[in-house]
């Protein structure tokens, strides 16, 4: 991969290696010489056997973890620490229980020095509206259901107008029905370009979920993870889970996994 190409990508991981230090000085090798790129305006899914380091990969992309070897480039520049243009939604909503919903969302703007408090509140309200949470601004997280909490977390991730949204199994703690609705809404927001983001990376263990909303699914192998394959999903949206082609895509990912 040449440097010009890095300029064309939104995020590039080049030849990264990463290991966790275990007790007694042992090392658990997670990635060995892994490279991948995320282009502009892409909805990427990441699948892999459990324990292969999907969440670790996401944290390297976020700048939370530093690879032992190799480089991470974001918009053509090396990424060394979290960047305001990269946001993340965790498996748990991770709202601060001592603040109201609107204050939790405004936390996403805390470092925006040029905005007044009033403007911050205005913008937080816009995103709460987008996530269907108008009327709950002054509620505390403890008063919300699991799905609503995750909506607040998504609003907080989007409020700073990031280019890249990283999602770490955001629907896995929700009940099926809530997960379906939230997934649909996210897809619609992204398709209609209401969201300010360019690309989304979604980590999930639910293969059908990935096939339903992603443009491309990167399948990882077991530790140390390599890319087992990249499946481009050429299906018209909204995708029906019952179609023949849908199952073919799901099967091809399962084949790569096993």
């Amino acid at each position: 991969m040449t440097l010009e190409k890095i300029d064309e990508t939104l995020l590039t991981l080049r030849n990264i290696s990463f290991s966790y230090k275990m007790r007694k000085g042992d090392k658990l090798l997670i990635f060995d010489n892994l490279s991948l790129s995320i282009m502009f305006a892409e909805f990427i899914g990441i699948a892999g056997p459990s324990g292969c380091g999907k969440s670790t990969l996401l944290r390297i992309m976020a700048g939370l973890l530093k690879p032992d070897l190799g480089e991470v480039y974001f918009r053509g520049k090396p990424l060394h620490s979290p960047d305001p243009r990269i946001s993340m939604v965790f498996q748990n909503p991770t709202l601060l229980p001592w603040y109201t919903v609107i204050k939790n969302v405004m936390l996403g703007l805390i470092n925006e020095k040029e905005l007044t408090d009033k403007e911050k509140e205005e913008r937080a309200r816009t995103f709460l509206d987008m996530m269907g949470l108008i009327g709950f601004e002054n509620a505390y997280p403890a008063e919300l259901s699991g799905g609503m909490k995750q909506r607040v977390a998504i609003a907080r991730a989007l409020v700073s107008h990031p280019d890249l949204l990283l999602m770490d199994e955001p629907f896995s703690n929700l009940d099926q029905l809530t997960a379906i609705t939230l997934r649909r809404e996210l897809e619609n927001l992204w398709l209609n370009q209401i969201l300010p983001i360019s690309s989304i990376v979604l980590v999930s263990h639910d293969i059908e979920e990935l096939v339903e909303i992603c443009d491309k699914v990167i399948v990882l192998t077991a530790r140390p993870s390599r890319i087992a394959g990249i499946v481009k999903i050429d299906l018209k949206r909204p995708r029906s889970r019952r179609s023949q082609e849908f199952y073919e895509y799901v099967d091809s990912i399962y084949t790569l996994l096993s």
Partner: protein
């Protein structure tokens, strides 16, 4: 230095340790029985918990009258020893009892259901469920109980009632003697031995027990206890403790087991009747032992004490004492908040400092009182200042460890969120650390203030042989100390009741409410 003297110091330290060990064993047995009973029986819980609450609010030296009359009058030689063990027991037991009670209460419902489903008798529940479940809380409370006992060692080994003085062989009485006769080198050697014993006790008993206790926890998350660098040195020596603690059960070949099973089951079946019977028996026995005359005599003593004290005087004393405790607590908060955050964020500093903090924390600050006195007088400071130092030395450590504990359970995703949003420094303190520390800060304040009251009795006034140390202003602890030295039972009971009542009211009306509000907002 004379080797004979060295042996005296060593054996005195050994004696003190045996005394404290006896008290600790009794404390553990007491805590297990009372804690489990309170947690299992809804009826008895309503009686036991308030009583424990009041007892823990009574300063250790407030138990003096009981110790004197119940034990010393019993036998001239064994009596004082029993009184000392009893006093040390009262300084060690309450936190362990509350620990067992909480541990048994928070056993997950599913686990209890499994036990019921297996139709375990109450006896095997105690053996296989309640005791192992309380093990972590007991282990966690042992170091602070031990430190607390040590704190009152001097006061327990020299018991003065009016003219009579009982001196027990021990490092507390020995150090006091050295100090009184100006033998500075000898007292420093004695302090050194105490320090050595404290370090060994922590390394060989307490730390291994806490490590083992991790596997008895119900929580799914693992909290790491950082390994201290010198733990490796003594690792082989901790083996016996590990062997004992790995199987905290009774031997399987307990013949009585089967019979006890059916017996305890019988008890559990007729629990209600037995509870009522026990209560009425206690009342009947008390009524038969205590004659009406005794009761009148006793109430006369109490009445005299209260009428002598009046109302304004104890309130002034309480006011002064309360402000001392408050100032000490504020100073404690002032340094423990930043230090606990530094320890949390900089693991390398923590690895170095934490074991040192733990050793200093378990060192009996009362043994330093002569030095503090010296220091205060030489610098020409107010004695109030010295009293503050004595209170601080005895109470400030709990806050540090509890704040540090609160920080270590901050969810990883919250930490990541703050890194992603690039929030650090004061903003992180305000938005994350302070809210996460608040519940521990409040319990820390309750414990620090409670401990503060306890230490006041020593800090406000101490007489070691000919040396008398007294704060300039009034204080409830000073009054209690005076009453004890004079052997004035009337006054002693009255001041103790005033103090305990004040603490209980403060706890119920203020601290507990603040705690509940904080918990509601944060969880």
């Amino acid at each position: 230095m004379d080797p004979a003297l060295l042996i005296t110091i060593l054996s005195a330290t050994g004696y003190s340790w045996l005394r404290m060990l006896a008290a600790l064993v009794i404390s553990i047995l007491f805590s297990i029985s009372i804690g489990i009973t309170a947690a299992v029986s809804k009826t008895l819980e309503k009686v036991i918990i308030p009583i424990l609450d009041i007892l823990q609010s009574i300063p250790v030296l407030g138990f003096f009258p009981i110790a004197l009359y119940a034990f010393i009058t019993l036998h001239p030689t064994i009596g004082p020893e029993m009184a000392a063990i009893f006093l040390i027991f009262t300084s060690q037991v309450w936190n362990i009892s509350f620990g067992v009670y909480e541990a048994v209460r928070v056993i997950p419902t599913e686990t209890l259901e499994v036990a019921n489903f297996l139709r375990l008798s109450i006896f095997s529940k105690i053996r296989h469920l309640y005791i192992p479940a309380s093990f972590p809380k007991i282990a966690a409370n042992l170091p602070s109980s031990w430190a607390n006992g040590l704190y009152f060692l001097v006061a327990c080994e020299i018991i003065t009632i009016g003219e009579a003085e009982y001196r027990l062989l021990g490092v507390g009485s020995l150090t006091a003697e050295f100090m009184a006769s100006g033998m500075v080198l000898e007292s420093i050697v004695a302090l050194f031995f105490v320090l050595l014993f404290v370090v060994l006790m922590n390394l060989l008993v307490f730390i291994p027990m806490i490590r083992i206790s991790v596997k008895y926890r119900f929580e799914t998350y693992a909290t790491e206890i950082p390994h201290a660098w010198f733990e490796k040195l003594v690792k082989p020596l901790t083996l016996p403790i590990k062997i004992i603690a790995y199987k905290p059960r009774f031997s399987e070949s307990w013949r009585l087991g089967a019979e006890l099973h059916s017996f305890t089951n019988l008890i559990m079946k007729h629990r209600r009747i037995i509870e009522v019977l026990t209560a009425s028996t206690v009342v009947v026995i008390l009524a038969s032992i205590i004659s009406i005359e005794d009761l009148i005599n006793f109430s006369q003593i109490v009445f005299n004490g209260f009428s002598r004290l009046g109302i304004l005087e104890p309130l002034t004393m309480l006011g002064y004492s309360l402000s001392r405790v408050f100032i000490a607590t504020l100073i404690t908060l002032g340094w423990t908040i930043p230090v606990s955050i530094i320890l949390y964020e900089k693991k390398t500093i923590e690895k170095m400092l934490l074991p040192i903090f733990q050793v200093i924390a378990s060192f009996p600050a009362t043994l330093l009182i002569p030095f503090v006195m010296d220091f205060t007088i030489k610098l020409g400071l107010m004695k109030e200042f010295g009293a503050l130092i004595i209170v601080l030395l005895g109470t400030m450590w709990y806050m540090l460890f509890s704040l540090r504990g609160a920080l270590s359970v901050i969810p990883r995703e919250e930490e990541e969120l703050f890194k992603l949003l690039r929030i650090s420094g004061l903003k992180k303190l305000w938005y994350l650390y302070l809210p996460r520390m608040t519940p521990s800060m409040i319990t820390g304040c309750i414990v620090t203030i409670g401990g503060g009251w306890n230490t006041l009795v020593i800090a406000e006034r101490t007489s070691l042989d000919h040396i008398l140390w007294e704060v300039e202003n009034p204080g409830i602890g000073k009054m209690m100390s005076i009453a004890t030295t004079l052997g004035d039972i009337e006054l002693l009971i009255a001041t103790t009741v005033w103090m305990a009542l004040f603490i209980v009211i403060l706890n119920r009306l203020i601290w507990r409410r603040i705690y509940e509000i904080a918990i509601r907002r944060i969880v």
